[in-house]
Structure formats: structure tokens, C-alpha cells
């Protein structure tokens, strides 16, 4: 078990190394002078020279890389070009809304999609099944921003049940915060729910056709006991995988959802930094997001070992 976890842990290092090199090379790959690119169209020669010195762009490339990697390993992601604040502090300031949004989406999506998928598989080919599957095909095609604006239009503008946009931090009260997250979480979760429901149904269908399920049923166990304890547990590996893979989908979606709902999180920080060409922030965020994704994949792989002891090879 621990050998498996260790091996899996070691495998994340080359991936992060490639990401780090990629992020470093990204700016240097651009045609022309990166300093001029960052400075923008109406910069003076002095501005450009200033940026070049600050980013160390006048040093040889290997030297730049060593400095950059050294900084990252010490938790230093550089300094924003515009605000002059450390990137790590800027990221920390915007962390709460994004974490809350991701958590709310995860809770909404998993708690709705898994039961729906189980229900659809249990009542396979029934009307319920058709509705769930219909939703999962449609839901997967709806872009986050369409879902977001439709929800805003119905629940915020027409019915006035929830706020149109914006985020209330936890410090302003738990309920106010939750209220500001309901619509964004549903919008962001739509495609995610569709995906989870679909895989849950497929995985359950496969398990439900097994002999031991028939045995469990015929010896008179309660239906919910068979469904949840015997079937769902054995169907869990693909479901957990898709919940993990789906988080990657969520990260891309977060950027768009935060723009639709005007939530001042990491997604907005990314878009604002990109539009202002504040590259140290963009580089730092790509690293942080990639690290999150690699970490989640690691967690998913480790969870396999718990869910299915056969995987502990």
C-alpha cells in the first residue's frame, strides 16, 4: 500500500517539472521581445528596459531559469508587474471565493448526480432513466455561461430570489455567502453533473447484472441495502475517477463562471492578469492550477487502492 502511494507520489515530480519548464518557456517563446510585449503598445524604451531588468530578461536563459525555479521551490512566485505585490499574496487574497465556489459545486453536483445515476440504472429503460439520460446529454452541451445567464435571468431578474451577481465572503455571514454561491455552483455544475450521472448509471448497470447482486436480492435483502452497499461500492472506481477528472473541467469552468457572476476569485485574477499581460501572475496561476490538478489525480489514484484492493499492485 505505502509502496504504491510512494510510487504514485514520485510520478508527480516529472509532470510538475514539465509544467514548470513549459510555463517558463512560454513567455520566452513569444515572437519578439517579451519585455516589450508586457510593457504594451505605448511603452517608452525606458519602460521596456526597466521591465527587462526586473524580470532578469537580460541574463542568459539558463541563469534566468535557475533563479526562477529557485524562487518557486522557496514558495516565491515573483512580483506582479502592475501592482508590485508578491504573486503569492495576490493569489492568497483571491483564494476564498474560488475554493468556496469549487466546494459548493462539488457538493451540489455529487449529491445530485450520483443518486440520479443510481436511480436511472436501477429503473433502467424507464421514464426516469430516459429523463436522467436526456438531461445528461443536454447538460453536457450547455456552456457554463449560457447556464449562468439563464439561471440569473430566471432566479435573480424575474423571480428575484437570489442576488444577480457578486460574492459575499464568509466573514459577512454563512447564509449570505451560500446565497451568493447557489446560482454559480449550479451553472458550473451542470456539465459536471451530466458527466457524473452518466458514468454512475453505466457503472451501476454493469455491476447490477452480476451474479452476487442476484444472490443478494434473492436472499431477501432490502433493495436500498443491495443498491448502496453491494452495488454502489463495487461501482465506485469509475465514479470516483470521473469526479476527479471532472475537477479539471471545473477549473476551466471556474474562470468563466467567475466572470459571469462577477466573483473576485482566482479565475477573475487570471483573466484580468492575462488582459493586462501581467505575466508573473499568469505563470504563478498556471502553476497553482496545474499543481491542484496533479494533486487531485494523485488523490484519485490513491483512493483506488482503498476502493478496490486488487489495484494495490
Amino acid at each position: 500500500m505505502s509502496a504504491y502511494i510512494l510510487r504514485r507520489l514520485l510520478a508527480t515530480f516529472p509532470v510538475m517539472a514539465v509544467v514548470a519548464i513549459f510555463v517558463f518557456v512560454l513567455l520566452r517563446l513569444a515572437p519578439g521581445d517579451p519585455a516589450a510585449l508586457i510593457a504594451g503598445d505605448d511603452a517608452t524604451a525606458a519602460d521596456i528596459a526597466n521591465i527587462r531588468t526586473r524580470l532578469g530578461l537580460d541574463l542568459p536563459i539558463w541563469h534566468q531559469f535557475v533563479i526562477w525555479i529557485g524562487g518557486i521551490l522557496q514558495g516565491d512566485l515573483g512580483v506582479s508587474i502592475f501592482s508590485n505585490l508578491p504573486v503569492t499574496r495576490l493569489i492568497a487574497q483571491r483564494l476564498e471565493p474560488t475554493l468556496m465556489l469549487a466546494l459548493a459545486t462539488l457538493i451540489v453536483a455529487v449529491s445530485l448526480a450520483v443518486p440520479l445515476g443510481v436511480l436511472a440504472a436501477w429503473k433502467a429503460k424507464s421514464l426516469v432513466d430516459r429523463i436522467v439520460m436526456g438531461f445528461s446529454v443536454m447538460g453536457f452541451a450547455v456552456p457554463v455561461f449560457l447556464a449562468g445567464y439563464v439561471l440569473i435571468y430566471i432566479f435573480a431578474i424575474q423571480l428575484r430570489w437570489l442576488p444577480v451577481q457578486g460574492y459575499k465572503p464568509l466573514a459577512d455571514g454563512f447564509w449570505a455567502s451560500i446565497q451568493s454561491l447557489v446560482l454559480p455552483a449550479i451553472a458550473l455544475g451542470t456539465a459536471y453533473m451530466a458527466l457524473i450521472a452518466r458514468i454512475t448509471r453505466a457503472s451501476m448497470l454493469e455491476v447490477l447484472s452480476q451474479d452476487y447482486i442476484r444472490t443478494a436480492n434473492s436472499k431477501g435483502l432490502a433493495t436500498e441495502r443491495v443498491l448502496l452497499l453491494h452495488a454502489l461500492k463495487n461501482a465506485a472506481v469509475p465514479i470516483v475517477t470521473i469526479i476527479g477528472i471532472g475537477i479539471a473541467l471545473l477549473i476551466s469552468g471556474v474562470v468563466i463562471t467567475e466572470t459571469v457572476f462577477n466573483i473576485p476569485g482566482l479565475g477573475r485574477l487570471t483573466v484580468d492578469a492575462v488582459l493586462k499581460r501581467d505575466y508573473p501572475i499568469v505563470q504563478g496561476l498556471i502553476l497553482v492550477f496545474a499543481m491542484t490538478k496533479v494533486f487531485i489525480n494523485l488523490m484519485v489514484d490513491i483512493s483506488y487502492a482503498f476502493l478496490d484492493p486488487r489495484i494495490r499492485y
Partner: protein, 291 residues
Amino acid sequence: MSAASIALEPAAGRASSGLWSEIRRNPTIFLGCAILLVLAACAILAPWIAADPLKHAPVNRLKAPSAEFWFGTDQFGRDIYSRIVYGARVSLIVGLSVAAISSVLGLTIGLLCGFYRWFDGIVMRIMDGIMAIPSILLAIALITLVHPSLTVVIIAIIIPEVPRIVRLVRSVVLSIREQPYIDGAVAGGTKAPRLLVRHVLPNAVAPLIVQATYVCASAIITEAGLSFLGAGVPPEIPSWGNIIAQGRVFFQLTPWVILIPGVFLALTVLAVNMLGDGLRDRLDPRLARRM
């Protein structure tokens, strides 16, 4: 289609039937194709069926949908119907070119990875690294490095899509190369390039076509998302994402400027996905059973 049929001949006896009867028999493929054909016709015929999508007419600004302006107008008085018809061009071009180019790239790299161990070691590490970066972030970062244009957007969407295809093709190759008939071919003196093209490639075509439709759908959504964020095709090009982005300011006043192109976008993606699901059920029965 014919190449895909060859690949399946041992498994499916009905592979000889024509493309058309296949499409008619499968309602999912039929509906998906029908929607896409109508959209493609609109995109091609745009100059004849739509007005100038760029014409500003301040007199007509923020008009609700009516007989004159089917889908209303935006804050500059531009006709949303015409903009959507022209926008279909952008979405279809992006979807098709990303699907085609990333398939070819992914197929080539995947075949080589499956056959040459040293190549595999290096390339797969790079692919894992690219896949660790959320696709829309990677695309935004790439686009802002150069002056944005449709071509740049297409390239920026291709790069995060390629690893998904490489992984798929590589896994097919790895399973095929263990088959006895490959050993037989090798023993018979067949050289690697011929082995790849004659024996491995046909087996990779069916899953590749299915994957390509999903890449197409995802590319269309990504392009709209990028344009929505202001980091996609230049704002003067009427793409669905740009129409939606420019409608944000007046959303409470004129929700149709966002909702109507949004519905077209969802419908297009739905059609491509339906085509993909239908093809998957038809071409790859093993995968279909798992889904």
C-alpha cells in the same frame, strides 16, 4: 467511413451496408447530422440569407426580437440574427479544423509513441505536463503572446487537445502490438512503417473518429469561452462568444443578445455530441457497452 468499416469487418457483419442507410437507421446520428447540415448551409449561404453583421445602426439599438429583427439588436443596432448566421462560420471552422489537425497530429505522435520506446518516454512526459494545465488557461496564455486572430485561436485550442488523442492512439497501439498477428507480421519480415500503416492504423481509426467528434465539440465550446472572456477571436469578428461577451453590459435590458446565441451554441455542441455518441455505439461496441 470506408476505412472505419474495414477496421471492424471481423467484428460486425453489417459493415458492408452504405453510409446513408446507416445514418437513417440510427436516429442519434441522423438528428446530429441534420442539425449540423442546416448550420453548415446557413454558414455557407450567410452572404445571401443575412444582412451585414457589422453594420452599426444607432436608430435600431437594443430592439427586442420582431418581424424585422428576428433575434433583436444589440447596443450598436447590429442585427443579432445576421451576427449569429456569420458566427456559425467561426464555430464550424474552429470545430472542424481543431478536430482534423489535432487528430492528424495526435495520430502521428501516438503511433510513434506506441512503437518506439525512447520516443514514448520523452513525449508522454510532455503530454502529461500539457494535460496538467487546464485547457482554457493554456489557450488564454498562448493567445496573449501574439496578436489574436482566428488562426492563433485555433492553434491555441489544438495544443491542449493533442495529448488526449495521443493517449488514445497510444493505448490502441500498445494493445495491438501484443496481438499474435503482429508477431506473425514481424516474423515475416514486415518493416515498422508498413506494420504501423497496414496493421495498427486501421484499428485506431474507429476510436479516433469518435474522439475527434468530442474534440470538435470541446473546441467549439472553448472558442466561445475564450471569446467570452475577451481573449478569443478579435472582437470585430462576429463569433457567438463575441456576441455574448458584447451583450453582457446590457444583459438585464436585452437578455436575448446573450440567450439566443447561447442556445445556438448549445444546439451545435449537442448535435456534434449526438453524432459522436451515435458513431461510438456503431463503431466501437466495446466502448458503447461501458458508457
